[in-house]
């Protein structure tokens, strides 16, 4: 459906470097990256607003690298929606239809249908200056979709809307994707990726670092940057070494982890997801390969429930649901045990 092949593009001091992405028809692909990582530039390149210095853009098995923007059948919804302030909502939605020189009646019918679909029929005759973020988002989607693009490009679609409206927009996007629309969605928020994407690509400084299913990318991040994106806070600088036929990782504070896998070269990082680490107030009956005792240094409320910081020679970040936290009856300075299986310790050799 869409194939980016060895794309390079210099933009002032910044460059997109050797971008290779293949997106099959009907996929929901989320491109994850910080602001300034090149996400928007990549979308503009797919839409045809810029031309790569080298490499090719293939759409529907045709080389579209130099094809006109208007002929690409790609719809782009900008971060702030780029709604034309000199037109009504209806004028905005009808804009691409006027470009096709359709008859007035046909335009009216199509606008009414898509407005109904997006639940914005009551806004059609209004100017856009007083619309909310969520309403503008729907208008922008309607305007883009009225022309039936083959690929929908979304630039940070949730950035300017209230949390309460995000679920509505997600529902719309899931429905569009279920109906066969290929969607490429760029965002800085990994939660959007988890909740929407079939596959995720992580972009940093103009290069794509890792592509895979959200499960794979977030459970086996390719490097520290991706791990940070996945919300991982437990990073340990280690030296890898074999002992009695098993591979281990020694932290700077001499804590030693058992890790799964083998043949790790020299130094690197071990990362741990906060909810893979278990905590107990007594020495655990069922202990994993890694088990350490320590002291609670901080307890903070978090979006998952409670975040507990335990000093066991190294600081461990542990997430607990509130109910579990209450059962444990722990507080700051309590002595506790932390334990996790060796496969939860993700080794990233050569990074850090």
């Amino acid at each position: 459906m869409l194939s980016l092949r060895n794309i390079n593009k210099k933009l002032g001091n910044f460059a997109l470097t050797d971008i290779n992405i293949d997106i099959p028809e009907g996929e929901y692909f989320v491109l994850l990256g910080r602001s300034g990582s090149g996400k928007t530039q990549l979308l503009e390149l797919i839409a045809g607003l810029t031309i790569p210095d080298s490499g090719e853009v293939w759409i529907n098995n045709r080389n579209a690298t130099f094809r006109k923007i208007q002929d690409r059948q790609v719809g782009l919804v900008f971060q702030d929606y780029a709604i034309f302030p000199n037109m009504t909502v209806s004028g905005n939605i009808a804009y691409p239809l006027h470009c096709l020189k359709l008859k007035r009646k046909e335009i009216h019918e199509k606008v009414s249908r898509i407005a109904e679909d997006m639940n914005i029929t009551d806004l059609l005759n209004r100017f856009t200056d007083n619309l909310s973020g969520g309403e503008l988002q729907r208008v922008a989607l309607a305007r883009t979709l009225v022309n039936h693009p083959k690929i929908l490009l979304l630039d940070e679609p949730m950035a300017s809307i209230d949390a309460s409206l995000k679920e509505d927009i997600k529902r719309i996007l899931r429905r569009l994707n279920r109906n066969g629309l290929t969607i490429i969605h760029v965002t800085h928020d990994f939660r959007e990726a988890v909740s929407l994407a079939h596959r995720v690509g992580v972009i940093h400084n103009g290069s794509v670092i890792q592509i895979g299913t959200p499960d794979l990318v977030f459970s086996r991040p390719a490097n520290k940057f991706v791990a940070r994106y996945a919300g991982i806070r437990n990073f340990f600088k280690v030296k890898f070494f074999p002992e009695n036929g098993r591979w281990k990782a020694k932290c700077e504070n001499n804590l030693v982890f058992n890790i799964s896998g083998n043949n790790f070269p020299g130094e690197g990082l071990v990362i741990l997801r906060s909810n893979d680490v278990k905590i107990s107030s007594r020495e655990p009956f069922h202990r994993y390969d890694n088990c350490f005792n320590g002291v609670i240094t901080e307890i903070n409320p978090s979006e998952y429930g409670m975040e507990i910081l335990v000093d066991a020679g190294e600081i461990f970040y542990i997430d607990l649901p509130v109910s579990e936290f209450k059962l444990l009856q722990i507080k700051e300075s309590s002595a506790v045990w932390v334990t996790f299986p060796d496969e939860a310790a993700i080794a990233l050799p050569g990074t850090g």
Binding site: E44, L76, N86
Partner: protein, 267 residues
């Protein structure tokens, strides 16, 4: 207390500037009696020159706009070699002495000049002709239109134009449906400024065409032939007509719905 003193100083200095502008104009109005004004307004020569001044300046502005507005868009949107030089060339007529500008235009449109030769070959002459007057007016006033329109186009977020392109619009459609409507206020301000500046031009016009006479030339002629007393009512009539036209044009241009352009998004 200190800030109070500063405010007073600001107020006094500002009032001085306003007084400097208003005092001569008020003086002129006060020195012109009603009957004098009516008599001058009925003067056929006055009527003809005012009409000539208005339509020639309007025509010059209108035809200049056809190429000046696209140039303004180019300057706002495109990067090209020697762009700063081009911008400097556009501002050149503003800094030239207007009589020198008149000499330059005359050289261009006289029978020995490039445009003059072409016109001569089809039996036309720009000298002492409204077309020559329009050239002189446009030469000195077109920077006002270009610069104002350029600022207007620069203020239109580029992403709106990009969005229009991705929605299937051609470059031309984007210009006429998005860029121009959103820059409309600045374009119209530039149009009115150019029209006003063209209308009031004396130095360049008098060199290209003493006749047919436009109002600033007529005022000068009345002053040099008959003195201040006779030049004054003609000036007052011209000022009243100019003000009326400006107010009308501003009202027309500002009547269009005010559009708020958001600049929140990162570029």
């Amino acid at each position: 207390m200190k800030s109070n003193l500063f405010n007073w100083i600001l107020l006094i200095l500002s009032s001085l500037v306003l007084l400097f502008i208003l005092a001569p104009l008020t003086g002129m109005f006060l020195h012109t009696s009603g009957p004098e004004l009516i008599e001058t307004a009925a003067d056929k020569e006055i009527q003809e020159t005012v009409w000539l001044t208005l339509w020639v300046s309007f025509t010059a502005t209108f035809f200049s706009a056809l190429s000046a507005v696209p140039l303004a868009w180019l300057l706002a949107r495109k990067k090209f070699p020697l762009k700063k030089v081009v911008q400097g060339i556009i501002d050149l007529p503003v800094v030239l002495p207007h009589s020198a500008a008149g000499i330059a235009v005359l050289g261009f449109i006289s029978r020995d000049g490039l445009l003059g030769k072409v016109a001569d070959s089809v039996g036309l002459s720009f000298i002492n002709n409204p077309a020559g007057i329009a050239m002189a007016m446009a030469f000195v006033s077109v920077p006002f239109l270009i610069n104002s329109a350029r600022d207007g186009f620069s203020a239109v977020p580029e992403r709106l134009e990009k969005a229009a392109l991705t929605l299937g619009a051609s470059q031309g459609r984007v210009f006429f449906t998005v860029s121009l409507p959103l820059a409309w206020r600045s374009v119209m301000t530039g149009f009115v400024m150019m029209f006003a500046r063209g209308m009031s031009e004396f130095g360049a016009v008098v060199i290209v065409a003493y006749h047919p006479m436009i109002s600033p030339v007529l005022i000068y002629e009345r002053f040099s032939s008959f003195g201040l007393k006779y030049a004054r009512p003609a000036s007052v009539i011209f000022i009243i007509v100019s003000l009326a036209i400006f107010i009308l044009l501003r009202m027309i241009s500002l009547k269009k719905k005010e559009v708020h352009i958001s600049h929140d998004a990162e570029p």
